[in-house]
């Protein structure tokens, strides 16, 4: 039985798609058959981050409306045979997604895949609602910044009430905090909320901290998920996240600033 994981945040631009791409790639690298679905109808971007934008022929909405089969719409990743991408449509209106349609597609995917990753759009409208509705687990992507934390809390409220698990009373969506764009040096100076602060406010378990990293941009330039770059701190952080998600114990890292040398201390800011 496939596990459905939604990557959500409320606020836009915090790293949902970056996280979805690396999370799905990481699971596939570990041998799990994984599909990642872009729920952002009208503003698709996952295909760009995954580097498969030129191979999109059919999309999620085509499948829901019966214009294409899943087999036709699923794009196989070039680097990883366990990884598939289902792109969002670029032109249709958001009403193209229906509860029944999404349920049917997820049900079909569940027969073949170990993990179904749902990349939620920003906001709390239809696309975001449907991305989380059938989820078993959720990655709450949050930046250490007031508006992002507040929006994450809103999303936590929705996860605990507006999902199939919650509505049926069968249980609750398992929540994981993924803190992205973290800058330990600014935290040390008291300019940025610390991991502990965000954990205290949101009161959900921490899956991982991804440090602010120049590699995130260069990876997206190249259309390669940042986890595919094992040299970078962000890539390592996502690899840790995969390990913890799969039940391994891994100490958290990238949470403290690197010590400056004497020169840096004298002349740095």
């Amino acid at each position: 039985m496939a596990k459905i994981v939604v990557v959500t945040s409320g606020k836009g631009g915090v790293g949902k798609t970056t996280t979805s791409a690396s999370f799905a790639t990481g699971l596939a690298m570990r041998g799990h058959k994984t599909v990642v679905i872009d729920f952002d109808v009208g503003l698709r971007n996952l295909d760009l981050i995954m580097g498969c934008e030129r191979r999109v022929v059919f999309d999620f909405v085509n499948v829901i409306q019966g214009e294409a089969t899943l087999r036709q719409a699923l794009i196989k990743d070039k680097q990883n045979e366990n990884l598939f991408i289902l792109a969002a449509s670029q032109t249709r209106d958001k009403d193209a997604l229906t509860v029944e349609g999404v349920e049917r597609v997820l049900g079909d995917l569940a027969k073949d895949f170990d993990y179904i990753i749902c990349d939620s759009p920003a906001g709390i409208e239809r696309g975001a609602h449907l991305a989380m509705y059938f989820a078993d687990e959720a990655l709450i992507v949050t930046n250490p910044e007031v508006s992002s934390v507040r929006d994450s809390d809103r999303v936590l409220g929705l996860l605990s009430s507006k999902t199939r698990l919650a509505e049926s009373g069968a249980g609750r969506v398992k929540e994981h905090l993924v803190l992205t764009r973290y800058n330990p040096a600014r935290v040390a100076k008291g300019e940025m909320l610390a991991v502990e602060d965000v954990k205290e406010i949101l009161a959900i378990p921490l899956l991982g901290v991804v440090p602010e990293s120049t590699t995130v941009l260069t990876s997206s330039n190249a259309g390669s998920p940042v986890i595919a770059n094992p040299e970078s701190d962000a890539g390592k952080a996502y690899e840790d996240i995969i390990a913890r998600f799969l039940g391994e114990e891994r100490e958290h890292r990238f949470m403290t600033a690197e010590k400056k040398g004497l020169f840096g201390r004298l002349f740095g800011n």
Binding site: S160, E191, M192, L193
Partner: protein, 85 residues
């Protein structure tokens, strides 16, 4: 340890200001939230019915609250019994 803050001369960091503001905003946000799972009202009705088999209590005698603390969910239930019994 709050009194220690008075001894500190430096001004508050913006991060701690952010944290204070968020605490207020989030607490407010959670008040309006249908606290806890959807079955809660039904659970409350059924418990009220069971209590009434033994004691006559008003409609508001059963109070259920769900709180989240550090990843743990705590279900708190209060049943107020009438004074003269």
């Amino acid at each position: 340890m709050d009194w220690l803050k008075f001894l500190r001369s430096e001004p508050k960091s913006t991060a701690s200001v952010a944290k204070e503001r968020l605490k207020v905003v989030v607490a407010h946000q959670r008040e309006g939230r249908a606290n806890g799972p959807l079955y809660l009202p039904r659970l409350r009705e059924e418990i009220l019915a069971v209590v009434r088999r033994y004691v006559q209590v008003p409609d508001n005698a059963v109070n259920i609250n769900v709180q989240r603390e550090a990843g743990l969910e705590v279900l708190e239930m209060n049943i107020t019994l009438p004074d003269a019994s």
